[in-house]
């Protein structure tokens, strides 16, 4: 029933130029000099990796044969990303700091015009390129819902302070109570990006906490098993049977 994403139409890779980050036009010019990133303890390149890794994974899911190259912006120097490199260090050695992680804004320069900036924008663009517009929603309403959750991902979820994670989990859990996917009954880009976004949180939850957020866990497990989606991320174990017996020993 589920069509593997990569089975659908393949498309040619986009040629890429590297982008001088501080361009004189576009959002970069408006950015405040006191960059958020500098206030965080996490090394910059690693933060950048988060978003870029996701985009690389998304490309694979969408069936791009050749990876695009990306850079990021946010600080004085641009960071190039090599999708094969240093994944290991991304893993749990930084558990704590994961939570503080803020994303650096990724940039994609295609040969068709101005560079595209921003995770959601690039991801939506990639979906269009891959000729799978249904991933952005089938109706105007659905598209609005998808956009809303994409924005939720970058505004609420990313860089969310540790003490707010619970309320986010709660919100998502409650929202998903009567839904298979974020946009109702269709799998969309919102599911993919939100899955990437909550992965590090889910990976840190105890069995019991996952059980408390049953709807979210169910959705998460579903998405991570959706063909072609998981890519670079490790599988998070979600139990299907309720236990809550191991509370004591």
């Amino acid at each position: 029933m589920q069509k593997t994403l990569s089975e659908s139409k393949r498309c040619s890779p986009i040629t890429v130029k590297s982008l001088p980050v501080r361009s004189n036009h576009g959002p970069a010019a408006l950015q405040s000099p006191s960059n958020r990133a500098e206030q965080r303890s996490c090394p910059q390149w690693r933060r950048a990796n988060m978003a870029l890794m996701e985009l690389a994974s998304l490309e694979k899911s969408l069936g791009f044969k050749k990876a695009n190259k990306y850079s990021t912006q946010g600080n004085n120097k641009s960071v190039q990303f090599d999708p094969g490199g240093d994944r290991k260090s991304m893993q749990r050695d930084e558990e704590g700091r994961y939570l503080e992680m803020l994303q650096q804004t990724p940039i994609l320069q295609s040969n068709k015009g101005a560079p595209l900036i921003g995770l959601v924008t690039i991801a939506s663009h990639l979906v269009q390129e891959a000729a799978q517009p249904e991933l952005l929603g089938r109706t105007a309403e659905q598209r609005a819902v998808v956009r809303q959750w994409l924005e939720y991902r970058v505004t609420q979820l990313d860089g969310c302070p540790k003490e707010d994670i619970r309320s986010i989990l709660k919100e998502l859990n409650q929202y998903l109570e009567d839904k298979v996917y974020l946009a109702g009954s269709d799998f969309t880009l919102a599911d993919i990006l939100l899955y990437y976004g909550v992965h590090h949180i889910m990976a840190d939850l105890s069995v019991q906490e996952k059980e408390q957020h049953m709807n979210l866990s169910r959705w998460f497990d579903h998405i991570q098993h959706y063909p072609g989606i998981r890519q670079h991320l490790p599988l998070v174990v979600v139990l299907r049977n309720r236990l809550y017996t191991g509370g004591h020993h």
Binding site: P27, H125, A144, E151, Q174, V237
Partner: protein, 851 residues
């Protein structure tokens, strides 16, 4: 379609602008900012668009784009890019708050050469003007800007604010004249001739006409050394409440003990080469000494491996059995033919069927965390003899929870509505009931447990979760033969259970079902107090990784037990998780204890002893003094109200508020200057000193549940009468003059010590996962870091032998290099020995050889 907006909200502005621009028809409703419109969001947001399909859109940009789309306009990549940037970057900056209102006109992006020009252009568009007017009635850009700057940050960004400012806010409360006069009147009532409270006499039994409060804290499992989270979660919280109850004159009994049965004990015993009973004896003593150090004042600290436990558990079992609440069923289990036993839970290891981890246990895989049915393990192995077990079916008994469900619900409704249940306890319990109860297996094929008395199930024991809560009863029974006066007396006894939230379902559902089913008029829990989790410096406490402070280490930190208690209670995870942090502990010690509380009490006492020959001076109260009395009285009543509702952390703030008021009072009145003045000034200095000393005396009483040693020291220093706490804690609480003029006080000395930054840094290093690397190192070098008596013994022997060898070489005048090499070996061994004895493996500084 309905669009909900609120006044002055810039996000609403842009939505309205787009609605205007596109002409999309929708009902616009004004709703106040704090009304929650989207059911699943935890904070109210605006704007909200209710779509025809019933879904809510709660983000302004998607709403805008939706309007654009339904009105037939294209949304290009560039538009979406700008909106993303606006949402993710721009809204973060407060100073830019006036901009998002207008960035909807993204079709103008190509004209954007400089912000100002764009802004003007956009602002000049009629559509914006109309909308801006509609939202806030003012056209001028400047006023809009000012208006917006006054707006609170959007909720998503201002949530870092401290949680509970209630106490501080109330502290600033203005006192009315009546309150001030009343406080003065109360004060002058004095101690009168209140009888000295009676000493606690064991055994404590319920008394007619008294409030009989039975307090339990979750039984700690015997083979784990408790960490700070365990301590604050149950025993320390329960201790504060029990001490408070005694102070209030309630007839309180506080029992606890170690939970000792179960597979974990059996395995631990095998590892250490002891019998399970010996293991329990050993660790029970460890627990008892830790709690003693933390000054946990149990009326009785017992254990579950007693005759009484067997007796009471079996009695409850038979009652349940006779009334048909136990149902037999067979379960497939692994059986080791060689050891002649079923391999429950942790007695079997094999390959995890899910992740192929080779050392998965019979109940759960350590690698993937999944719960496993032991028969599903691939290549299972008996943990004892390493042979392959066979599958056999085994009969077990299940507690029929579904049959008891309606009774349970009825009782829960009554208990929750009259008693004190923390919201997490209510919530967890409700969610269990909502999901429907299922029969729960209460027997196990084990040896170390309470035997099941039924002949058909001989050789089996009770499952710990059936057994352990019965420990409360049996521990009370070991304390007094008349235990039934507490446990079968629901009309006269109020039962308070303290625990961390993971224990809630067993106390609110499973155990009450056992007792309800047994139909023996048991006392059921009326107040269930559950804490959230305490983390350690942003991570979890972890024994295996050596992260965090464990009960037995706290005393090695040279920080007094009272300070530990204070800090743990200060951040007691009430309502939400909290985190232990060394830096914060030092800060709280230095600012709250030393500079605030300690400073006030010390000053008050010092003035009395220095200026008034150690006597409480004559006092003549003026309005200002009475105002302080009113403020203090208010905090005292707050404190009592909060503690009556077991809000332990919040009540602690009241104490700190009082000393803050006191410090201010002294600061403003400057008794140290006035003492040098004329008669009137001297009287004023006397009054201020006298009032302050009395406030200090009140503080000693209020501190008693939290910091018993400090409280006792203050009382001693002030020579406070024994009945003073009793007098002030009556009813709603009243602040009376307990140290009248002429009262002689003792020697005053400082109560607290500063925690220095270096000290804290070194403690942080010592407990903060440095142990992890040490442990890894030990893996390579065979250097155990945690205390290991076996190894220590062996090493002691080796050190002695090596020492002999070195001495022999020296005696033979062997080559220097040879001697050096052997000495190095000796030092290495000594280091290992120190580690094995649990001492710091740092080598002690080399002593000079020359004498």
């Amino acid at each position: 379609m309905k669009l909900f907006v609120s006044d002055g909200n810039p996000h609403c502005l842009k939505v309205l602008a787009v609605a205007e621009l596109t002409g999309v028809k929708c009902d616009i409703c004004h709703a106040s900012d704090d009304e929650r419109l989207v059911p699943f969001l935890s904070h109210p947001v605006r704007p909200v668009l209710l779509l025809p399909c019933g879904q809510h859109l709660f983000k302004a940009n998607p709403i805008c784009l939706y309007f654009l789309e339904v009105s037939g306009r294209d949304v290009c990549d560039l538009t979406s890019q700008w909106l993303e940037w606006e949402a993710a970057e721009l809204q973060v900056y407060l100073t830019f708050h006036c901009v998002p209102a207008f960035d909807v006109h993204l079709f103008l992006v190509d004209k954007l050469q400089c912000v100002a020009r764009w802004f003007e252009q956009v602002n000049a568009l009629p559509v914006c003007q109309t909308v801006a007017q509609r939202v806030q009635q003012q056209k001028s850009l400047e006023s809009l800007k000012r208006f917006l700057q006054k707006q609170p940050l959007p909720p998503a960004r201002c949530r870092n604010a401290p949680l509970c400012n209630r106490a501080e806010e109330d502290a600033e409360r203005e006192m009315t004249d009546e309150e001030i006069q009343a406080a003065g009147a109360t004060w002058s009532r004095g101690l009168a001739d209140r009888p000295t409270p009676a000493e606690r006499r064991h055994p404590i039994l319920p008394q007619e006409g008294k409030r009989n409060v039975l307090i339990t804290s979750a039984l700690p499992y015997v083979n784990n050394v408790p960490h700070l989270g365990n301590i604050i979660g149950c025993v320390l919280s329960a201790d504060v409440f029990a001490r408070y109850g005694r102070l209030r004159g309630w007839n309180a009994l506080f029992v606890c003990g170690t939970d000792e049965y179960g597979t974990a004990t059996e395995n631990k015993a095998r590892e250490e080469g002891l019998s399970p009973q010996e293991i329990c004896d050993k660790y029970h003593a460890v627990h008892a000494s830790i709690y003693k150090w933390f000054q946990i004042d149990f009326d009785h600290f017992g254990r579950t491996t007693t005759e009484k436990q067997t007796e009471i558990a079996q009695d409850i079992f038979w009652r349940l059995y006779d009334r048909g609440f136990l149902i037999p069923d067979t379960v497939d289990q692994l059986h080791c033919e060689n050891c002649q036993r079923f391999l429950a839970d942790r007695f079997v290891e094999g390959i995890c069927p899910n992740c192929r981890y080779p050392e998965a246990r019979g109940d759960q895989c350590d690698k993937c965390g999944r719960l496993i049915n032991a028969v599903e393990l691939k290549d299972p192995q008996c943990k004892v003899c390493k042979r392959t077990p066979v599958v056999r079916s085994s009969a077990h008994l299940f507690l029929d929870l579904p049959k008891l469900e309606s009774q349970l619900e009825q009782w829960l409704e009554q208990s929750m509505s009259t008693g004190n249940w923390t919201s997490n306890a209510r919530h967890i319990t409700r969610s269990w009931l909502r999901d429907g109860l299922k029969p729960r297996c209460i027997t196990r094929d084990l040896r170390w447990g309470t035997p099941v008395p039924h002949p058909d199930f001989s050789g089996k024991v009770f499952y710990v979760w059936f057994d352990a809560p019965i420990g409360y009863l049996s521990i009370t029974a070991s304390y007094t033969d008349e235990w039934e006066k507490w446990w079968k007396n629901p009309e006269k006894v109020e039962l308070y259970n303290f625990m961390a939230k993971d224990n809630v379902p067993f106390h609110s559902v499973v155990f009450p079902c056992s007792l309800l089913g047994a139909q023996d008029n048991y006392t059921l829990v009326s107040n269930l107090i559950a804490t959230e989790y305490l983390n350690y410096e942003d991570t979890k406490f972890s024994k295996s990784r050596g992260v965090g402070v464990f009960g037995d280490m706290a005393k090695d930190t040279d920080i007094p037990s009272d300070v530990w208690r204070f800090y743990l209670l200060y951040l007691r995870p009430e309502g939400q998780d909290s985190a232990f942090s060394w830096a914060d502990m030092a800060l709280k010690n230095n600012s709250e204890l030393l500079n605030n509380l300690g400073n006030f009490i010390n000053r008050a006492g010092m003035f009395a002893s220095k200026f008034f020959e150690g006597r409480v001076p004559q006092m003549e109260l003026q309005q200002e003094d009475k105002r302080l009395l009113a403020q203090v009285g208010f905090e005292l009543r707050q404190y009592i109200q909060l503690l009556d509702r077991v809000r332990i952390r919040d009540a602690l703030k009241c104490i700190l508020n009082i000393s803050r008021h006191g410090n201010q009072y002294i600061q403003v009145n400057e008794p140290w200057k006035k003492i040098k003045g004329g008669d009137e000034d001297r009287l004023r200095a006397g009054t201020v000193t006298g009032v302050s000393v009395n406030v200090a005396c009140l503080l000693s009483a209020m501190l008693r549940p939290y910091m018993p040693a400090v409280s006792a020291t203050i009382r001693e220093q002030l020579c406070a009468p024994a009945n003073c706490a009793d007098a002030m804690f009556q009813g709603a609480g009243s602040f009376v003059c307990t140290l009248p003029a002429g009262h002689r006080i003792g020697t005053i000395s400082p109560l607290f010590q500063k925690l220095e930054a270096e000290q804290i840094e070194s403690l942080k290093r010592r407990f903060g996962g440095q142990q992890v690397s040490a442990r890894r190192f030990s893996f390579l070098g065979g250097l155990p870091t945690s205390a290991n008596p076996e190894r220590a013994k062996q090493l002691l022997q080796e050190v002695a032998e090596q020492g002999d060898r070195v001495r022999a070489l020296k005696a033979q005048k062997a080559e220097k290099t040879l001697i050096t090499a052997e000495v190095a070996k000796l030092l290495q061994l000594k280091k290992q020995l120190a580690a094995a004895e649990g001492k710091n493996p740092e080598p002690s500084p080399q002593k000079g050889k020359k004498k």
